[in-house]
């Protein structure tokens, strides 16, 4: 995917406005990790509270936080808000945002691409251009990033028991949650898997980006082949970047640990003890329960996702078929070109023109090979990601239905006893909060996803067109270059 092709919308009016109303719920949720953050990043935590602990986040008027976030100087908005906006609940010892800013500038500006510019003071232009180059994903709120995560340098490990690949994960951040400006850890696929299930567990109301498939579906693919590892690396990188960009998920405790812990296994083992407790809160009564009134918009989302996944599946198949046809075509072209060379060996005057045609076909084959490689490496994985994405989305939808079902069940139970107690009990109210909170989170995430999707597909399809245009341009150049060769000879006669 070409970096920097798309200009970042610095004051992106469109996406920002649309996400405003729903972001309150998210922002409220986001405040927790920051507020409750224990100083020792590696220490296991109690499961992060879900939204439900808040009383009616939706009914809150515009909290001062978002508006403040908008005013926070570029480059520091999230952190400034997370650190300062959480109502002064800072852990003693955490430097105030201002202090942090100062410190960061002192020793980090060369390391941190986005922190290099003092908050909007000296050259916002250069910082934003820097940002453009780094920007891989969408920055929906128009906020400047303060967390950068990359996955690279896959390494193969051969043990007696198993062979596996680890990837290096480099994190650079100015967020207060990170003690160091930069971390570098190695993780393997199953660690990502662990992270994802933790995220699902701790943020059940949010849409968790998909991981690449564990095994490639068809046939026996060499899991250690360079192409496979590279494709997976890209997908894992995308996965982390999607989390990084998420206003709530990026503050998740487990994510932080995943990025920073030297020994993730130790943490995982400790986490196991807590699993039962966590599981409890996630489990819900379900099974065949029919919702009384599933909100129309969620029903529509469900329908949309079904069609969307279906269409993407078709596009995926078409793309694969095209690649196959192109590879077959390539095989024939590779035989076709040399025939002209063979012929040229028989001829005197015609030798040069024939050799020219042969070379030209050779150039076209090379261009075609590039095209199919690009399609395989760049086009297909994005389609796959979105197919998997729609699955993640469906599972969140299902969870939402469960929460609503639970609420409706409780409400019904109360209604039966209503005469006795006119007041709705607190736990039912809590339950209602949960539903509303869920709805808000989901809507916000859906909107975010829709925006991402639109951007991603625009880029993907434009990339597809570009790659094809480039292919034809290369062929065009090759053929145009031999015309003078043919004509000159003729005139020379």
């Amino acid at each position: 995917m070409p970096l920097g092709l798309r200009a970042a919308p610095p004051s992106a009016g469109l996406p920002k406005a649309s996400s405003d109303s729903c972001s309150t719920g998210q922002r409220a949720g986001r405040a927790f990790p920051a507020a409750r953050r224990p100083g020792e990043g590696l220490q296991p935590l109690a499961p992060p509270p879900s939204c439900s602990h808040l009383s009616r986040p939706l009914t809150l008027p515009h909290s001062p936080s978002p508006s403040r976030a908008a005013r926070v100087p570029r480059g520091w908005s999230r952190e400034g808000w997370a650190g300062g906006g959480a109502g002064g609940e800072q852990r003693p010892g955490t430097p105030s945002p201002d202090l942090l800013v100062a410190r960061s500038f002192g020793d980090k500006d060369l390391i941190l691409p986005n922190g290099g510019t003092p908050a909007g003071a000296s050259s916002p232009a250069s910082s934003s251009s820097l940002l453009n180059r780094l920007q891989l994903d969408d920055d929906i709120d128009g906020e400047t990033r303060d967390l950068f995560v990359t996955v690279d340098d896959p390494k193969k490990h051969v043990c007696t028991m198993e062979t596996y690949i680890t990837y290096r994960i480099t994190t650079k951040s100015t967020r207060a949650e990170f003690d160091l400006p930069e971390y570098s850890v190695r993780r393997r696929y199953q660690d990502f898997d662990w992270l994802r299930s933790k995220l699902e567990e701790s943020q059940p109301t949010h849409l968790i980006p998909p991981l690449p498939e564990k095994f490639v579906v068809k046939g026996v693919v060499d899991r250690f082949s360079e192409e496979f590892v590279e494709t997976r690396r890209k997908a894992l990188d995308k996965f982390l970047k999607r989390i990084t960009d998420h206003p709530v998920l990026s503050f998740n405790e487990h994510f932080n640990v995943f990025l920073t812990a030297k020994d993730l296994n130790a943490y995982r083992k400790q986490g196991m003890a807590l699993l039962t407790r966590v599981g409890e809160s996630v489990k819900h009564v379900t099974g065949g329960y029919k919702l009384r009134s599933r909100p129309l918009e969620f029903a529509a989302i469900g329908e949309y996702l079904d069609t969307f996944a279906l269409k993407l599946g078709t596009i995926d198949r078409i793309a694969q078929r095209i690649i196959k046809e192109e590879i077959d075509y390539l095989v024939e072209l590779r035989e076709y070109g040399p025939v002209y060379s063979t012929w040229s060996a028989l001829e005197g005057e015609l030798a040069e023109p024939l050799e020219g045609v042969s070379a030209c076909i050779g150039n076209c084959s090379a261009a075609l090979e590039e095209l199919t490689d690009d399609m395989t490496e760049d086009f297909l994985p994005v389609l796959r990601e979105y197919i998997l994405y729609s699955d993640s989305m469906k599972s969140v939808l299902k969870k939402r239905d469960q929460v609503q079902a639970e609420y409706e069940a409780k409400l019904e139970a109360v209604a039966l006893r209503k005469e006795d107690r006119p007041k709705v009990p607190a736990d039912v109210e809590k339950c209602q909060d949960r539903v509303e909170c869920f709805n808000a989170d989901l809507k916000a995430d859906m909107e975010r996803w829709q925006n991402n999707k639109r951007q991603d597909f625009r880029q993907l399809l434009m990339g597809l067109a570009d790659k094809n245009i480039q292919y034809y341009e290369k062929c065009l150049m090759a053929w145009e270059s031999i015309i003078p060769l043919l004509q000159e000879k003729q005139e020379g006669k």
Binding site: K311, R454, M462, A465, Y472, W479
Partner: protein, 403 residues
């Protein structure tokens, strides 16, 4: 040069139409065939007469007869080939049916090309039978057969014999034969691969057509992206259907190559004829040599080689001197004849080589020119295909960018 081309200048030739017909053949069986309308027009309007347009219908078999006649009567000439009788080296989407309109159309062009090539040939254009082919509808076949050209045709067995027994083949012709073989094999290989390339290219384009459908279906559920997807889908449809024209144009290039594939056979025919003449010459020379030896033996009375005559002489004693004299005389007469024959054959051979080589040189020039042109037009076709591709994808990109 101007004199050589006089025929073509005076008359314009075209095969303007093809028509499917049904008739009865020699054994009174119903058959369907295609007839081609051959039109000739006098190009010189300065003539006192008004412009003369002649048109007549000919079948493919009549073209074949004409060519066979030319082949026999002008063995030293690389006679232009006819277009293929049955479609060969086609990619699978193209019909191989003889009655297929596309095939008939391409054959019509090929037949016209054949007539033009003959008409522009410095020697062939003056042929009377050719002239009659263009102008005399009825009885033309009979006229051709009356020339008795078939009697002059060499038997295949004799030709095969010649191939293996020639002792001193002309190096130039051997090389030319070798070249024709190679040319034939390389062009047929090229045509085969090209047909496969066309097949695959067709596949690549057509599969893109599926994008058209799925984009349009997908657009139905998208709000902001919908319009862009829908119109991009339309461009994908355009892309998929553009391949039909592209490959149809390419078929013309394939036909140009095919003509030279068949020319290779014509070249070989000249080589074969040369071999045959060389073989004749060699047998005549051998014959003469053996007669001379016999004569000498008789005259000197010594037998150098073991022969039946030697044996009889030894067994039954010497012949009478009168008898011997008579035989020597006969032999001497035969030797004289043989020498004369050999001389004329030598002369004929030299003449053939001279004429054939001149025509081969002419052919080579024509071939280089034609094939260069064919390659240029092929490159131009490829360029236009690339341009079309760029255009379609640019349009699609614009649609995508609006999403």
């Amino acid at each position: 040069m101007t004199e050589n081309n006089f025929f073509l200048k005076k008359i314009e030739i075209s095969v303007s139409e093809a028509e499917k017909r049904t008739g009865r053949n020699a054994v009174n069986m119903q058959e369907t065939y295609t007839a081609y309308l051959v039109e000739t027009r006098s190009a010189e309007r300065a003539d006192s007469q008004s412009v003369l347009t002649d048109s007549l219908w000919r079948r493919y078999s009549e073209f074949e007869l004409l060519r066979n006649y030319l082949l026999v009567c002008y063995p030293h000439i690389v006679v232009p080939p006819l277009p293929e009788k049955r479609a060969e080296f086609v990619w699978h989407k193209l019909s191989a049916d003889n009655m297929d309109p596309d095939f008939v159309e391409r054959r019509r062009i090929g037949l016209e090309n054949f007539l033009l090539r003959v008409a522009s040939h410095p020697v062939l254009c003056r042929d009377k039978i050719f002239y009659l082919f263009l102008t005399q509808e009825g009885n033309w076949k009979e006229t051709v057969n009356e020339t008795g050209f078939q009697l002059k045709a060499d038997s295949r067995l004799k030709a095969l014999n010649a191939t293996f027994r020639v002792k001193n083949p002309d190096k130039r012709f051997t090389e030319l034969k070798h070249y024709s073989d190679e040319l034939q094999s390389v062009i047929s290989h090229l045509l085969r691969v090209r047909a496969r390339v066309a097949d695959r290219l067709y596949g690549v384009y057509k599969v893109h057509g599926n994008y058209g459908r799925v984009f349009s279906e997908w657009s139905a559920i998208e709000k902001e992206m919908g319009d862009g997807l829908q119109s991009a889908g339309h461009h994908m449809d355009v892309y998929a259907s553009s391949i039909d024209d592209i490959l149809e144009d390419e078929e013309h290039y394939a036909d140009q190559l095919k003509e030279y594939l068949f020319y290779a056979e014509a070249l070989r025919a000249v080589c074969r004829k040369h071999e045959l003449m060389q073989y004749d010459l060699e047998t005549a020379a051998q014959d003469l040599a053996s007669k001379k030896q016999q004569c000498e033996e008789l005259a000197t009375g010594t037998v150098r080689t073991f022969s039946l005559k030697g044996m009889t002489t030894k067994l039954f004693g010497q012949e009478a001197p009168e008898q011997r004299e008579a035989r020597i005389k006969v032999l001497e007469e035969q030797i004289g004849e043989g020498e004369q024959q050999l001389k004329s054959k030598n002369l004929e051979g030299r003449e053939f080589v001279k004429n054939a080589w001149a025509d081969i040189e002419r052919f080579k020039e024509q071939k280089n020119r034609d094939l260069k042109e064919a390659l240029i037009s092929y490159a131009v076709m490829q360029i236009s295909m690339c341009r079309k591709g760029i255009q379609v994808w640019t349009n699609a990109k614009e649609c995508f960018s609006k999403m």
